[in-house]
C-alpha cells in the first residue's frame, strides 16, 4: 500500500505544512511507502513532491490510501477526489469562517467562503471513508454538516515542536529583551479572527493598573492585503498611546522564536476562532504560562487546570497577566499542568493514534 498525502501548498512555517511533512517522515519511518503531492511548494521543498502524472497513477490503484489535507479551498482537490479510486481519508484542519474577513479583505472573504462550500461538498462525498479532525471542535463542525459520527476521528496535527530542543537562544535578542520590563507573547498571523483588539485592550488595562513597563510581542506575518485591518489596529494602538508597548515582529527565525518562548513571562491567546492552536502547544513545550479566551478549540488544546476566560473581560486579563508574571507559585502550577498536557502532542503519541486507524 502506498500513502499519498495531498495538500494545496507545502511550506515551512505553516501548521498544515508541518503536519504533512512530519506525517510523511514518520510514516516512512514506520515503513509505509509515503509520498506528498502539492500544487506548489516553497523552493527547497519541491524535491519532496511527486508529479501530477504520478499522482494520477497512484490514486487509481484501489490498494492505496489518499490522505487529503483540507484547510483551504483547493480547485485541484475536486479533480483529485473525482479521479481517486483508492481509499480516501480527509484530514480537516478547519477553515476560518468567512464573516471575519467580510469588512477587511474581500479576496480572503471569497477564498474562505469557497473553502466552506468545498467542505460541505466533501461531507457528502461517498469516496471519503474517514474524516480526521485536528480537534473535537473540528469534528463537531463536520458532524453538524452531516458527517456520520462513526466516520470521525480526532488526531491532533503533528508539529515540529521537538525541533526546538535543538534551537539556540539568540543572544542579541536576549539582551534586547532583558530590559526590566514584563514581556508577553502572542503568535499568529495578523488577520481579523485572531482577536488583536482584545490584546490591545488588555495591554491598555495592564498599563492603567500596573504602569507602562510592559511589552507585548505580536509575532506573525502582517499581510499588506489586510491593510484595512492593520490600519484599524494602528488607530487603536495610537489612540491608547501604546506604540512603545505593542510590537509587531515579522520574519522571525527559529532561534529567535525559541528565545521569545523561553524568555517571555506569559503567552496570550485571544483568538476568536481556532480549529487547533499550535502556539499553545509550543508554549507548553517551553513551559510558558498561558492566559486564554475560550473560543473554538482553544480550551481543549490548552487542557485542564489552566487560566481561561469565557468572555473577553480585559480587567481580568490584565490582572491575570500580572499575577502570572509576578506570582511564582501560580506560574509553576500552570506550567506543570501545561507540560503534562503537552504529552498528548508528542509525535510518537500522535503517530500511534494515526496508525491505530489503519
Amino acid at each position: 500500500m502506498k500513502i499519498i498525502i495531498a495538500l494545496p501548498f507545502l511550506s515551512y512555517h505553516d501548521a498544515i505544512g508541518n503536519d504533512v511533512r512530519q506525517q510523511a517522515k514518520l510514516l516512512k519511518k514506520a515503513e509505509f511507502d509515503t509520498v506528498i503531492y502539492a500544487s506548489g511548494a516553497e523552493q527547497d521543498l519541491t524535491q519532496e513532491l511527486i508529479s501530477p502524472d504520478e499522482l494520477k497513477e497512484f490514486i487509481k490503484d484501489q490498494d492505496n490510501l489518499l490522505l487529503y489535507h483540507h484547510g483551504v479551498y483547493w480547485e485541484e482537490g475536486n479533480v483529485i477526489l473525482r479521479e481517486a479510486n483508492c481509499t480516501v481519508w480527509l484530514k480537516y484542519h478547519n477553515i476560518t469562517p468567512s464573516h471575519f474577513f467580510k469588512d477587511y479583505d474581500l479576496s480572503n472573504y471569497y477564498a474562505t467562503q469557497a473553502g466552506e462550500l468545498q467542505t460541505r461538498k466533501f461531507v457528502w462525498n461517498p469516496k471519503i471513508e474517514k474524516y480526521i479532525g485536528d480537534s473535537a471542535f473540528n469534528c463537531d463542525c463536520l458532524k453538524q454538516l452531516g458527517v456520520n459520527p462513526h466516520k470521525l476521528a480526532i488526531i491532533p496535527p503533528l508539529m515540529m515542536i521537538e525541533e526546538y530542543s535543538k534551537a539556540n537562544i539568540d543572544s542579541d535578542l536576549l539582551s534586547n529583551i532583558q530590559n526590566g520590563k514584563k514581556h508577553f507573547l502572542t503568535v499568529g498571523r495578523v488577520v481579523p479572527n485572531k482577536g488583536h483588539s482584545h490584546l490591545i485592550q488588555t495591554i491598555r488595562n495592564y498599563v492603567n493598573f500596573f504602569g507602562p513597563e510592559v511589552q507585548l510581542h505580536i509575532i506573525g506575518s502582517l499581510s499588506m492585503q489586510d491593510k484595512r485591518y492593520y490600519y484599524e489596529l494602528e488607530r487603536l494602538i495610537n489612540r491608547f498611546h501604546l506604540g512603545e508597548q505593542i510590537i509587531f515582529h515579522q520574519n522571525v527565525n527559529f532561534d529567535q522564536m525559541h528565545t521569545y518562548y523561553s524568555v517571555c513571562d506569559a503567552f496570550l491567546m485571544m483568538s476568536e476562532h481556532e480549529g487547533f492552536c499550535v502556539p499553545i502547544a509550543e508554549s507548553q513545550f517551553h513551559e510558558l504560562p498561558i492566559i486564554a479566551l475560550n473560543r473554538g478549540a482553544v480550551e481543549e488544546t490548552l487542557g485542564p487546570d489552566q487560566i481561561i476566560f469565557d468572555e473577553p473581560e480585559y480587567y481580568d486579563f490584565a490582572v491575570a497577566l500580572h499575577r502570572v508574571a509576578e506570582d511564582q507559585s501560580v506560574k509553576e502550577h500552570l506550567t506543570t499542568s501545561g507540560s503534562k498536557n503537552f504529552h498528548r502532542y508528542r509525535s510518537e503519541n500522535i503517530l500511534q493514534q494515526l496508525l491505530s486507524l489503519f
Binding site: V207, L222, G243, I246, F248, Y315, D316, V319
Partner: protein, 381 residues
C-alpha cells in the same frame, strides 16, 4: 480546585483595581508610532528587488521601465498594446476554438456514453410522468364538474344491480363450490406467511373478494384482511359471514388508501376483467399502497391451456382478454415489482399415459392438459 481559587482572586483584584485611580505613569505614555520589526521594504528597494528577481531584459522589467517614463509611459504602453491587438485576438480565437472542441467532445460523450446507459430509465420516467399528468387532468375534471344524479345514472345503477345478481348466480354455477375454491387458494397462504409482514398493523387486501373464500382462509390463519368488491350481493354474503369488506370500485378504493398502508394484496380473477390502461393503473396503485417487503398475488385463467385460451375463458361474458403468464409477469416487473414469479395451479385431474401419445402430438396434448389457472407473485422492494 486551585485554578478556581486563582481565577476568583483575579476577578476580585480586577474589581478592586477598577475602582482605584490609574497608575501615575500610565498618564504619561510616549506618543510614538506603531513599531513593526522588519516591515515591508520601501518602494525603491522593492524596485531593486524586482530587477534582481526578473533581470533587466525580461518583459516584466521592460514594462516597468516604460511605465516609469513620466507622462509618456502609459500612452507608449497603450500604443504597444494596440500593436499587439491582432496577436491577442488570435490568442482569443485559439482559446475559443479549443473550448468549442471541448464542448463537441463533451456532447459526443453524452451521446455515446451517458445517453445509452440511462436511455431506458429516462423513457420509462417520461412515460410515467405523462400518465401522472393525465391522471391529474382527469382529477381536475372530476373536481371541476361533480356529476348530478341524472335519470340515466339511476338507470345505470339499476342495471348494475341486475348485473350483480347475474354475476353472483354465474359464479355459483361455473366457478365451483366455496370449499373447492378455499382448497385451491390455500396454496397461496405460505407466500404471505413467508413475507415476514406484520399483518396486525398492515392488513392484507383482497381486490374483488367475491364470495370471500380467500378472506375466510386468511381469517382461519389469523391474518387480518379486508376485501373490496362492487357486487352488492356478494358483499352482503361476506358481511353475513363476519368478514371485513367494503363495497366500492377497487381502483377508487386504492386511490383513497395511504401509501405503504397494506401488508399484501391479492386479486383472484380480476385482471382479465380490466382494460389494459386500467390494469396498469391498478398495478401502480398496488405498488404505492404496499409496504416494503409486501407481496401482491394476481390469479387469472391460464391461456397456455388450449381449452382455456380458445373457449373456457370466454365462458364469463365480462372477461375482456386472456393474459399470457409472461405478459402479466412482465407488466408487474415493468411497473416496479421485484422477485416476480409465476405459479401454475388447477391441473386437469386426468392426464393420459405419455407412452400412448404419438410424440408429434405430445406438445398439443401437453397444452390441452396444462394448468387452468396461474398466478403472478411480485414483491415491493
Amino acid at each position: 480546585m486551585q485554578i478556581d481559587r486563582i481565577l476568583k482572586e483575579i476577578q476580585e483584584e480586577a474589581q478592586v483595581r477598577k475602582s482605584q485611580p490609574p497608575h501615575p505613569d500610565s498618564q504619561n505614555l510616549k506618543k510614538i508610532r506603531i513599531q513593526i520589526v522588519e516591515p515591508p521594504p520601501p518602494l525603491f528597494f522593492r524596485a531593486i528587488q524586482k530587477l534582481h528577481q526578473y533581470g533587466w531584459q525580461s518583459p516584466k522589467m521592460f514594462y516597468l521601465w516604460i511605465a516609469s517614463i513620466p507622462k509618456w509611459g502609459y500612452p507608449l504602453l497603450l500604443l504597444r498594446d494596440l500593436v499587439r491587438l491582432p496577436t491577442l485576438r488570435k490568442r482569443i480565437q485559439d482559446t475559443n476554438d479549443l473550448l468549442e472542441s471541448h464542448f463537441i467532445a463533451l456532447n459526443q460523450r453524452i451521446d455515446t456514453e451517458l445517453w445509452p446507459r440511462h436511455e431506458e430509465q429516462i423513457r420509462i420516467m417520461n412515460s410515467r410522468l405523462i400518465e401522472a399528468l393525465n391522471y391529474v387532468k382527469q382529477l381536475d375534471k372530476k373536481i371541476g364538474s361533480p356529476k348530478l344524479e341524472s335519470t340515466q345514472n339511476v338507470e345505470q345503477k339499476l342495471e348494475e344491480n341486475w348485473l350483480d345478481q347475474f354475476y353472483f348466480d354465474f359464479e355459483n354455477h361455473f366457478r365451483g363450490t366455496k370449499e373447492d375454491i378455499l382448497k385451491v387458494q390455500s396454496a397461496y397462504l405460505p407466500y404471505l406467511q413467508k413475507s415476514g409482514v406484520n399483518f396486525e398493523n398492515k392488513p392484507a387486501l383482497d381486490l374483488g373478494c367475491g364470495r370471500g373464500e380467500w378472506l375466510q382462509a386468511l381469517k382461519s390463519t389469523n391474518i387480518a384482511a379486508k376485501g373490496v368488491d362492487q357486487n352488492q350481493i356478494m358483499i352482503k354474503e361476506c358481511l353475513d359471514s363476519g368478514l371485513d369488506v367494503v363495497e366500492q370500485d377497487v381502483i377508487e378504493y386504492l386511490n383513497l388508501l395511504e401509501p405503504e398502508s397494506v401488508g399484501a394484496i391479492t386479486g383472484f380473477h380480476i385482471v382479465e376483467h380490466l382494460p389494459f390502461s386500467t390494469l396498469v393503473h391498478l398495478l401502480d396503485e398496488c405498488l404505492r399502497v404496499l409496504i416494503s417487503g409486501g407481496i401482491a398475488i394476481f390469479e387469472t385463467p391460464n391461456p397456455e391451456n388450449l381449452m382455456m385460451g380458445s373457449c373456457n375463458f370466454y365462458t364469463d361474458p365480462t372477461h375482456i382478454n386472456p393474459i399470457p403468464p409472461h405478459t402479466l409477469s412482465f407488466m408487474l416487473t415493468q411497473r416496479g415489482f421485484v422477485e416476480t414469479t409465476v405459479i401454475r395451479l388447477s391441473p386437469l385431474a386426468s392426464f393420459p399415459d405419455t407412452k400412448v401419445i404419438d410424440p408429434e402430438l405430445r406438445q398439443v396434448v401437453d397444452s390441452y392438459y396444462k394448468e387452468q389457472n396461474y398466478a403472478v407473485i411480485g414483491k415491493k422492494f
